[in-house]
């Protein structure tokens, strides 16, 4: 096994390759009708789990979403609901 001593990570952005969404209890569901693409969920997501394109909400990145529910809490239109996995 080739390991960098000291547990250092010497490759930038490697968190993208390390999937962490498998221990989620709740998943976010978007009501597309209610969403106004304000990007509040994108700003507040502590990971990288709100995919945005051209200023529009696209999807949740479920390989990294831990189901914390912050996006649902901050959504001004209550367009996101958390459902049990």
């Amino acid at each position: 096994m080739s390991l960098v001593p000291g547990g250092r990570v010497i490759e930038p952005g490697s968190a993208l390759k390390f999937e962490t969404g498998d221990w989620r209890s709740f998943r976010p569901i978007l009501d597309r009708e209610a969403c106004i693409d304000c990007m509040t969920c994108w700003i507040y997501c502590p990971d990288d789990s709100v995919i945005v394109n051209d200023g529009k909400f696209c999807d949740f990145r479920m390989t990294h979403c831990k189901g914390c529910g912050i996006c649902a809490k901050v959504c001004p239109k209550k367009a996101i609901t958390m459902v049990l996995e």
Partner: protein, 388 residues
């Protein structure tokens, strides 16, 4: 270059070594009997004799934390502490070694409280012996100074990359003035060389992350890499000792032996006691007693094979701990016994606890270590000079 001998105490000698090295960063908090080191060194900083960034922190925990951060950034870093100061650093000791930070720290050995006592024993160092730090002990002021220079080369070696403690006995060496031969500053700088950090945080072209969560899949392996680094440190230390001898003529070994070759009975000790024990051996030799003494100069990693070789064939071995493990055997005794297990015939092994909290260990008391073994009076565990 020829250098005149000087009269200097152990703490000032370490500050002098640091002045000659001119490290990038020093962060420290004062504690007796280490205080003189950082006091003298802060004079050098204030007087512009070094370009070191000197940081007065609010505690030893913060001092070592800052040192770890600066070493991670890529700076050659030194610090010093003693006693409960080292105890207060304990959490960060494992982080320094686990993150593979090759910083060096002078430890002016003082006992741990309570009852509070500022004097010398090895309680502080022994409580930290499993923290993943390399450890080297000094017999006298000259060695304390030499070790402060030698340590950088061992800790920073690419195959080692671990932090190193250079231990010197509190007061006995830190405050007592001895004769010492300093090394020319140019030679010191050449010996330690330019610092080349491994994966420094400030290498902006090659971003690195330190301190990430390590899963059960990798933690064991990272610890095993530290074990391999400790193994490598034995060879590296011997090579560095050879280079040092070329520069200064002062020859050091992993295990120093004094009149052990033909000895029937030997003692094993650490630190300044080695000097007093040499005088004790000389007196007993004049009386025709075949005795010797040895000191594992490098204590971590333990030069186990060299210890086994040195005690092989002896009738009795007294292992002297300036520390008392409560409810178990004392550390140097355990180390020497475990080292000797590989021998076909184990010598008789005796544990001698002595010198706690600065209790003087003089020749008349130390003589009994040998005479007890010779007269078959030695017990398995002995408490030298205790009055209870």
């Amino acid at each position: 270059m020829e250098h005149k001998d000087i009269a200097i105490n152990g703490d000032s000698a370490i500050a002098m070594a640091w002045k000659q090295i001119n490290p990038d960063v020093c962060a420290a908090y004062p504690i007796t009997p280490q205080t003189i080191i950082v006091e003298r060194f802060s004079d050098y900083v204030a007087d512009g004799e070094v370009s070191t960034e000197f940081v007065c922190t609010e505690s030893e925990h913060s001092a070592l934390t800052l040192c770890i951060a600066s070493a991670a950034a890529g700076a050659r870093t030194v610090t010093a502490t003693a006693s409960v100061g080292l105890g207060y650093m304990w959490e960060m000791l494992g982080i320094a070694s686990g993150l593979r930070m090759p910083l060096t720290m002078a430890v002016s050995n003082r006992t741990l409280s309570a009852p509070i006592n500022i004097h010398c024993d090895h309680g502080d160092a022994m409580a930290s012996r499993d923290a993943g730090w390399l450890m080297i002990f000094a017999e006298n002021v000259q060695e304390a100074y030499d070790n402060a220079i030698i340590a950088l080369r061992i800790a920073e070696h690419k195959d080692v990359q671990l932090p190193m403690m250079t231990c010197l006995d509190g007061f006995i060496l830190t405050h007592a003035i001895e004769r010492m031969t300093p090394i020319d500053t140019h030679d010191v700088k050449e010996f330690v060389g330019e610092y080349k950090p491994v994966y420094p945080l400030l290498d902006l072209k090659n971003p690195v992350t330190y301190g990430v969560m390590d899963s059960p899949d990798f933690f064991y392996e990272h610890r095993y890499q530290m074990k391999m680094a400790m193994d490598a440190a034995l060879d590296v230390t011997e090579k560095v000792f050879k280079d040092f001898a070329k520069m200064t003529g002062r020859k050091y070994s992993l295990v120093e032996e004094y009149k052990c070759d033909d000895a029937d009975y030997v003692a094993v000790c650490l630190g300044s006691t080695f000097g007093t024990m040499k005088a004790t051996v000389d007196i007993l030799r004049k009386e025709g007693k075949k005795v010797g003494v040895m000191m594992p100069r490098l204590y971590r990693p333990l030069p186990s094979k060299d210890i086994a070789k040195a005690v092989k064939g002896k009738k009795g071995v007294a292992v002297m701990d300036k520390f008392m493990t409560l409810g178990g055997y004392s550390p140097l005794y355990e180390d020497v016994v475990a080292s000797a297990v590989c021998l076909d015939k184990m010598p008789e092994m005796y544990s001698y606890v002595y010198g706690l909290g600065g209790r003087d260990a003089r020749v008349d008391v130390l003589k009994t270590v040998f005479t007890d073994m010779i007269d078959k009076k030695a017990k398995k565990v002995n408490y030298l000079g205790v009055k209870l």
